[in-house]
């Protein structure tokens, strides 16, 4: 049985293909741990309520709000953050399609799009819309983001 007392404990997290030791309280969210312990600041702290998607990461390949996951829950599970997609084709697509304004929501959108393209390379408009409703862009650059997502899905299909 995995267990953790009230004290801070050292646990291992598997992030972007590497194993890291972090010191966590049971109450620490994955978002807090990624940012404060590992310096992975791509996952953004915004609503902290699972509403905006800015903190999206992948756990076991599935999109998750890292603000709604305890770090301790994710022991033994592969975690993917936006940092692992540096210089990736999907990053280039978002740049080329101008699917960026202030950039704050962009990591969440890219990770969501990445998971979508992997899982549904034939995603239609309805599926794309359903998935992208998980993320908010306060600059309201949705049309460009939608274009980028479509292009990324298309690229994955052809890969």
């Amino acid at each position: 049985m995995i267990q953790n007392s009230l004290a801070k404990t050292v646990v291992k997290l598997h992030v972007n293909g590497e194993t890291h030791e972090v010191m966590v309280r049971s109450a620490d969210t994955l978002l807090h741990t990624l940012r404060e312990q590992l310096g992975l600041t791509g996952a953004k702290r915004a609503c902290e309520n699972g509403d905006c998607g800015a903190c999206t990461v992948l756990i076991n390949g599935e999109t998750m709000h890292s603000c709604l996951s305890l770090a301790i829950e994710t022991i033994n599970q592969p975690i993917t953050t936006i940092e692992s997609l540096m210089d990736s084709p999907i990053q280039r697509i978002f740049v080329e399609k101008w699917a960026i304004q202030c950039g704050f929501c962009t990591p969440g959108f890219i990770l969501n799009c990445h998971a979508l393209a992997k899982k549904h390379p034939n995603a239609d408009e309805e599926v794309i819309e359903e998935w992208m409703q998980s993320n908010l862009c306060r600059c309201t650059g949705y049309q460009e983001i939608k274009d980028a997502v479509k292009a990324a899905v298309q690229a994955e299909k052809q890969a």
Partner: protein, 279 residues
């Protein structure tokens, strides 16, 4: 950030979970069973929920079952809403839970957590009410299977130390005509103004509602009105709405008058889509 500390336990078996709960309770601690955890984290963050220890049931194999066993569907309480939808195991349930929250959240929210929610909506329970679902509870005295309605009094009444392991639905309900409709105020991702799940069994329509009153419900009186063959569609719906088990909600999502208007239209839509044949 969650402003208090708690102990975390992730047992691998039901007896281990029950024993851990009892030991912690004997130490005078407040203990909560934890599954998806979205509600625990969001409420704890704003000091509206607290615990000295949480027991994460996601390590228990039985809570992850999602399959047909004999003549029934077995759905573990820790199965995520998205997994239920993707499995197509019980299409009415899959379609109904697909309307809850957003796609990313549905990777974390579990069916057990949804039907046990502190919020009033608990939309995942609607198909279970329509399909006479049973639940399997883990208790210190052993497992107990009983009809869902036996532990439902506006909300689930699960005893101290007990937890929901599985939901059992007769397979025959998976092939019945159904409809599921959620009406929100503005955006698709929102709490319901009105949410209705319906299915047709033996040429009679069954309906269950969320967002209409302070708790999700299925009502014999409402269904009797909707199945009254001597009435026109409009008369059936007006009579059904007059027989609701509690007052219609009046809140920031919708005024009582508007909610009543939306409810009637939604019922029309449901009845039309199911093309309920006269008995």
């Amino acid at each position: 950030m969650i402003p208090f500390d708690f102990e975390y336990y992730k047992p691998e078996t039901i007896p281990e979970a029950i024993q851990t709960y009892q030991e912690l309770r004997n130490q005078g601690k407040k203990v909560i069973y934890y599954s998806g955890g979205t509600e625990f984290i969001t409420f704890s963050r704003i000091n509206q929920m607290a615990a000295d220890a949480i027991i994460d049931i996601k390590g228990i194999r039985e809570c992850h079952v999602l399959e047909q066993q004999g003549d029934q569907f077995v759905i573990g309480s820790a199965v995520s809403l998205n997994k239920i939808t993707e499995s197509s195991i019980f299409p009415l349930l899959g379609q109904t839970v697909k309307q809850i929250a957003d796609h990313t959240s549905r990777n974390k929210i579990t069916i057990g957590g949804n039907i046990n929610s502190r919020l009033i909506y608990r939309e995942g329970i609607l198909p279970l009410l329509l399909s006479d679902a049973k639940v399997k509870l883990a208790r210190s005295e052993g497992e107990l299977v009983l009809p869902l309605t036996n532990i439902l009094d506006k909300e689930l009444k699960i005893g101290s130390g007990e937890f929901l392991v599985q939901i059992l639905v007769k397979k025959s309900y998976g092939s019945l005509p159904f409809a599921s409709l959620k009406k929100t105020k503005i955006t698709k991702v929102s709490y319901p103004v009105v949410s209705i799940a319906a299915l047709v069994k033996d040429q009679r329509i069954r309906t269950a509602f969320s967002g209409v009153c302070e708790y999700p419900f299925r009502s014999d009186q409402v269904e009797a009105a909707l199945n009254e063959t001597s009435l026109s569609m409009a008369e059936k719906i007006n009579k059904a709405v007059s027989l609701l088990p509690a007052q219609i909600i009046d809140d920031i999502q919708a005024s009582r008058e508007y909610r009543t208007f939306v409810l009637k239209n939604a019922l029309h839509e449901i009845m039309d889509s199911l093309e309920v044949a006269p008995a």
